[in-house]
C-alpha cells in the first residue's frame, strides 16, 4: 500500500477534484493498491456449488417445473432425499393445490431478478413450514425453502413496520450523517438483537471506515478503524450490489452440495448469485471466524447504483432472522441510505455554499474598493475562514502579506519562484514537502497548499494547512494480507487472523482540500485578475488624462508667454519703421514690414493654440439650448461673410433643443459654416444644415464646395494641419477643425465627414452627452 496516499479527515470522505479543470493536482490522487488481489477479485462467489444448511434449494425446469436438481439436505426437511425428488414435480413435497399455487407464481417470473417471495407453506407431512422464494438462473428456476422454526414464527410484521417507522423518524433528527449512522446502528442492534452492528462508509480508494458501532462489551470493537480495500474483494462488492441483504444463520457449517439430474452438469456451473441460501466463500467465512463471528447479516447502503456503505451485523452465536424481519431491515437500510447520503451531500453543499458566499462577499468588497491594492491587502485574513486554512498569504509586487500561521518570508519567496515554474496557474496539494524540498523545514505551517497565480508571475494568493500528524487505525495490519503460498510460491490474499489495531502514521500530509475550497479560490483568482486588469487600465487612463491636462496647461502657458516677446519684436520693428523714415531703402522697409506681418501671423497662431488648449481646460457648462436660436446667432455673426460670398444657407428642419455647452456648440457651428463658405469655389455656394435622430442625434453641415480627398479625412482635424497654401481660400490659422473636434469630444460626441472632391463635403457630428428635448417650436423648453 502506498503510504503517502492521502486520506480525508476521519469524518469526511475524500472528495476528488474535477480533473477537467486543468488543475495540477500535486499528490492529491488516490493511487491504486499495488498488492495483486486478482485472486480474490476473481473468486467465483456466485458459483459455490452448494448452499448453507438452514434451508433447501431446488432447481426446476422453466416449462414443466420438473425438479432437475436439489440440495443434498432434503431428507430431514421433505422426507425424501434429493435423488428421489429428481425428475419429479413439487407435488412430491406439497399438496396439489400448493403445487398449483407455486407453479402459477413461477410462471410470472420471466427474468433473472432478486428472489420473489412466494409465501409460506406447509409440506405434505405437515411437519415443517417454509418461506418459499424463487428466481430464475440460467435454464432453471431456483426455488428456495427456508424453514420457519417455532421460535421465530411469532414475528409480527405490523409491529416491525411500526418499529422501522420510529427508527426512520429518529434518523431524521440526526445533526450529521455520522450521527445518523450512529442512530442507525443503535436501532438496528435493538431490532436484530445481534451482538454487534457496525456502520461503515466506503472511501474513494476502496477502503472502508467504521463510522458507528453498537456492540456488546464482550465483542471486539472495530469503531473508527479502517479496513483495507482487499478485505472486501471486487467479487464480493458486486455481490453486495446484487444482494443488498446477505444473511448467514451460522457460518460454522459444511456447505450442502447440489445434486443434479443431469450427471454431465457440474454444480459449480449453477449461478447461485441471487440465491438466498448461496453458500458463502470459504475465505469470507474464515475472515469472520477469525473475528469470532458465527452469524452475520450485511445490509448494503447503495447510492445511485454504487456502494456508499453498509451495516454489518455480527453475532457470536447462530441467530435466526426470519424473512419478514430481513425484509423490514432491508427497508430500513434503504431508507437509511437515502437519508444518510442526503445528509452528507447537504453538509458538503452547505460548506460549499458558505465558502462560496464568503468568497462572493469578498469579491463584492474588492469590486467596490477604491484602491485595489489596499483591498487586496485584507485578503489573507479574509481567506482563512472560507478556505478553512490555518494561514494565508498575498504576494504582490515583491510584498508578502500574511495572516494566520505561514512559513517565513524567505520560504514563501522560494515557493513563489518554484510555483512560477509550474505549468498551471493553480496549484493544489496536501503534501507539499514531497514536491517542494524547501517546504520540509516548514511542515508545521505549509504541508497543504492552495496557490492561485494572479495577473503577473510572482503574484500569488496562497492558503496553507499544517502537517497533520495523525494515525490511521487499521483493523489489523493492512500489509499482512498477502501470504506466499508454500507450494506454488505465488502471493495470495488470506483473511487476517488479527483485528487488533495496527497504527499507521500519516506524516507529511495535511488535511485534504475539498473541491469547493479549490473552486472558491479559483473563482476569487478569476475576479482578482479581472480587477487587476481593470485597475491597470484605470491607472493608465488616469496617467494619460493627467498627462493630457499637463500638456494642455503647458501649451497655454507657453503660448501666453510667447505672446510677450513676439509683441515686443513687432513693436520695435514698428519703432524702427516710424523713426527711420528716409534712412532705410525700400528693400529694408519691406523687410521690416515682413517682420511685422509675420509676428502678427504668429500671434494669430498662438491665439489659436491658446483657444485650443482652453477648449480642453475649461469646464463644460451644460444647459438646455435651442439650436435654432443658437444657429441664428451664429449666422448673424457671419452675416458679412455670407453676404460677401452670396452663400445660400438652408435649414429645412426645425432643429432640436438639447443640453450642451452653448459656447462650444456656437464654435462648432461657426467653424464648420465658415469652412463651408471659405473652401468653396462654386459660383452658387450652397450650405444645408440639419440633423437626423437615428441611431443617435446627429447634426450635419453640407456644402457644395471643393471637397476633401478621403486620405485627408483624419488629418484635417489635426491642429495647424493645412491642405492648401497659407493664402489660398482666405488663409486661416489651421486650428478651426481641431477646435471643432475638441468641442465635440468634450461633449462625448464624435465628428466625421463624407466628401466627394469637386462636389462637396458633409460634416456630421454628435453631441453624445446631449439629450434631445422637444423643440421650442413644439412647445418645449426655450434655452
Amino acid at each position: 500500500m502506498d503510504h503517502s496516499q492521502v486520506w480525508a479527515s476521519s469524518s469526511t470522505p475524500f472528495v476528488n477534484l474535477g480533473a477537467n479543470q486543468g488543475i495540477y493536482q500535486g499528490g492529491n490522487h488516490v493511487s491504486a493498491d499495488p498488492v495483486d488481489l486478482t485472486h480474490c477479485d476473481h473468486e467465483p462467489v456466485q458459483f459455490p456449488g452448494g448452499i448453507m444448511p438452514h434451508g433447501v434449494l431446488l432447481l426446476l425446469t422453466l416449462n414443466e417445473y420438473r425438479i432437475q436438481g436439489a440440495s443434498a439436505n432434503t431428507l430431514p426437511w421433505f422426507g425424501s432425499d434429493a435423488a428421489q425428488l429428481l425428475h419429479g414435480h413439487l407435488d412430491r413435497i406439497f399438496a396439489p393445490d400448493i403445487r398449483q399455487t407455486l407453479e402459477t407464481s413461477l410462471a410470472l417470473i420471466t427474468e433473472p431478478q432478486l428472489p420473489r417471495y412466494l409465501g409460506s407453506f406447509l409440506t405434505l407431512q405437515g411437519s415443517h413450514r417454509f418461506d418459499v422464494f424463487a428466481h430464475r438462473s440460467g435454464d432453471f428456476f431456483i426455488v428456495e425453502f427456508e424453514a420457519i422454526t417455532a421460535e421465530v414464527a411469532e414475528s409480527w410484521p405490523t409491529g416491525r413496520i411500526a418499529e422501522i417507522t420510529d427508527c426512520v423518524s429518529n434518523l431524521h433528527s440526526a445533526e450529521s450523517w455520522q450521527e445518523g449512522m450512529a442512530i442507525g446502528v443503535r436501532e438496528l442492534k435493538r431490532l436484530t438483537g445481534f451482538d454487534s452492528v457496525v456502520g461503515l462508509r466506503f472511501l474513494t480508494d476502496g477502503s472502508f471506515h467504521a463510522i458507528a458501532e453498537a456492540c456488546e462489551a464482550h465483542f471486539l470493537s472495530v469503531f473508527d478503524k479502517r479496513f483495507p480495500r482487499s478485505d472486501i474483494p471486487e467479487s464480493a462488492r458486486r455481490q453486495m450490489l446484487l444482494m443488498p441483504l446477505q444473511y448467514a444463520l451460522d457460518l460454522d457449517y459444511q456447505p450442502v452440495p447440489l445434486v443434479l439430474a443431469d450427471q454431465t452438469q457440474n454444480p459449480l456451473q449453477i449461478d447461485l448469485g441471487l440465491a438466498v441460501l448461496r453458500s458463502i466463500s470459504p475465505m469470507c467465512r474464515r475472515f469472520y471466524n477469525n473475528m469470532g463471528v458465527q452469524s452475520r447479516m450485511v445490509i448494503s447502503l447503495v447510492d445511485k447504483g454504487e456502494l456508499w456503505g453498509f451495516f454489518s451485523c455480527k453475532n457470536t452465536a447462530p441467530r435466526h432472522v426470519t424473512y419478514s424481519d430481513r425484509l423490514a431491515f432491508k427497508l430500513f437500510a434503504e431508507m437509511s441510505a437515502l437519508l444518510l447520503v442526503e445528509k452528507e451531500r447537504g453538509e458538503q453543499l452547505q460548506a460549499a455554499l458558505r465558502a462560496k458566499h464568503s468568497i462572493s462577499q469578498i469579491t463584492t468588497q474588492l469590486s467596490s474598493a477604491e484602491v485595489l491594492p489596499i483591498a487586496l491587502g485584507q485578503l489573507p485574513q479574509q481567506l482563512l475562514d472560507p478556505l478553512d486554512s490555518t494561514g494565508a498569504s498575498l504576494c504582490l509586487d515583491g510584498q508578502i502579506l500574511c495572516a494566520g500561521v505561514t512559513p517565513e518570508e524567505t520560504v514563501i519567496q522560494a515557493l513563489i519562484a518554484w510555483l512560477d515554474g509550474q505549468p498551471s496557474p493553480f496549484f493544489i496539494t496536501d503534501r507539499l514537502p514531497a514536491l517542494f524540498e524547501a517546504a520540509a523545514q516548514c511542515q508545521a505551517q505549509a504541508t497543504g497548499l492552495l496557490a492561485a497565480r494572479l495577473q503577473e508571475p510572482g503574484q500569488y494568493l496562497l492558503a496553507f494547512r499544517p502537517e497533520q500528524v495523525y494515525e490511521v487505525n487499521w483493523a489489523g495490519d493492512p500489509l499482512k494480507q498477502v501470504e506466499v503460498d508454500a507450494v506454488s510460491g505465488e502471493e495470495r490474499f488470506t483473511p487476517r487472523g488479527s483485528f487488533e489495531v495496527w497504527k499507521q502514521d500519516m506524516r507529511g500530509t495535511a488535511r485534504a482540500w475539498q473541491s469547493y475550497q479549490a473552486e472558491a479560490l479559483i473563482d476569487l483568482q478569476r475576479t482578482v485578475i479581472q480587477l487587476q486588469y481593470a485597475d491597470n487600465q484605470r491607472t493608465l487612463q488616469l496617467r494619460l488624462a493627467q498627462s493630457n491636462i499637463e500638456l494642455e496647461a503647458f501649451a497655454y502657458i507657453v503660448s501666453h508667454d510667447l505672446q510677450e516677446p513676439l509683441r515686443g519684436i513687432a513693436n520695435y520693428a514698428q519703432f524702427l519703421l516710424d523713426s527711420s523714415s528716409g534712412q532705410f531703402g525700400q528693400q529694408e522697409q519691406n523687410w521690416l514690414n515682413t517682420i511685422v506681418r509675420l509676428t502678427g501671423k504668429m500671434s494669430d497662431q498662438i491665439n489659436a493654440l491658446l483657444q485650443y488648449s482652453r477648449a480642453s481646460q475649461q469646464q463644460m457648462a451644460l444647459q438646455l439650448v435651442d439650436i435654432n436660436l443658437l444657429l441664428g446667432s451664429v449666422l448673424d455673426s457671419l452675416s458679412a461673410l455670407i453676404k460677401d460670398t452670396q452663400t445660400q444657407i438652408d435649414i429645412p428642419q426645425t432643429l432640436p433643443t438639447l443640453s450642451c455647452d452653448p459656447i462650444r456648440a456656437t464654435s462648432v457651428f461657426s467653424n464648420l459654416i465658415t469652412n463651408a463658405i471659405k473652401y468653396n469655389d462654386q459660383p452658387e455656394k450652397h450650405i444645408e444644415i440639419g440633423f437626423s435622430e437615428t441611431p443617435t442625434l446627429t447634426f450635419f453641415v453640407r456644402d457644395n464646395g471643393i471637397g476633401i480627398p478621403e486620405q485627408f479625412h483624419d488629418a484635417i482635424f489635426t491642429i495647424f494641419r493645412r491642405l492648401h497654401g497659407r493664402n489660398d481660400y482666405h488663409g486661416g490659422t489651421g486650428a478651426g477643425l481641431a477646435l471643432v473636434r475638441k468641442h465635440v469630444e468634450r461633449h462625448g460626441g464624435r465628428i466625421w465627414l463624407e466628401s466627394v472632391p469637386g462636389q462637396g463635403s458633409t460634416f456630421y457630428f454628435t453631441l453624445a452627452s446631449c439629450q434631445a428635448f422637444p423643440s421650442a417650436s413644439d412647445g418645449g423648453i426655450n434655452a
Partner: protein
Amino acid sequence: MSPLLIVEDSDEDYEVLCWALHKTGFTHPIIRAACAEEALSRLFPGLPQLGGIDESPCMVLLDFNLPGINGLQMLKEIRQTKPLLAIPIVVMSTSNNPLDVEACYRFGAAGYILKPFKLEEYLEKIRGLEDYWFNTALLPECAGGGD
C-alpha cells in the same frame, strides 16, 4: 498731480506704454513697479515710500501676467484693503480668455484692455484710456492717503 502707477515686469512693454503715453501728451507723473509685491508696498499706507514719491497714485495700470503674485492675486489683495478700493485699476493683458476677463472684473478691476499688437492700435487704446479716465471721469484726489 497724483501719479499713475504702472505695474509691469516687462521692460519692453513698459517702454511701449510710456512711449504711447508720451505720444498722447500724458502729463501725470508715472511711477513703475516691476512686480506686484513692489506695487503693494507702495500702495499700502504706513510702509516706507519708495522712489521719492510720497503721493498715492490716482490710478493703477496693472499687467495681468506678473512674476510672483500675479495681477489677479494683487486685485484680491487690494480688494481686502478698504482705503485702496477707491483707486481704479485697469488691467492690461495679452489674454483674451473670457474667464480671465470675468475674474478681473469680479475682483474689482475698473477696466480690462487687451495689449494691442500694432503701435497704431496701442496709441488708439491709450488715447481712449486717457480720454475717459483723465479727461472725462473724475479720479479720487488722494486715494489711500488718509485713514
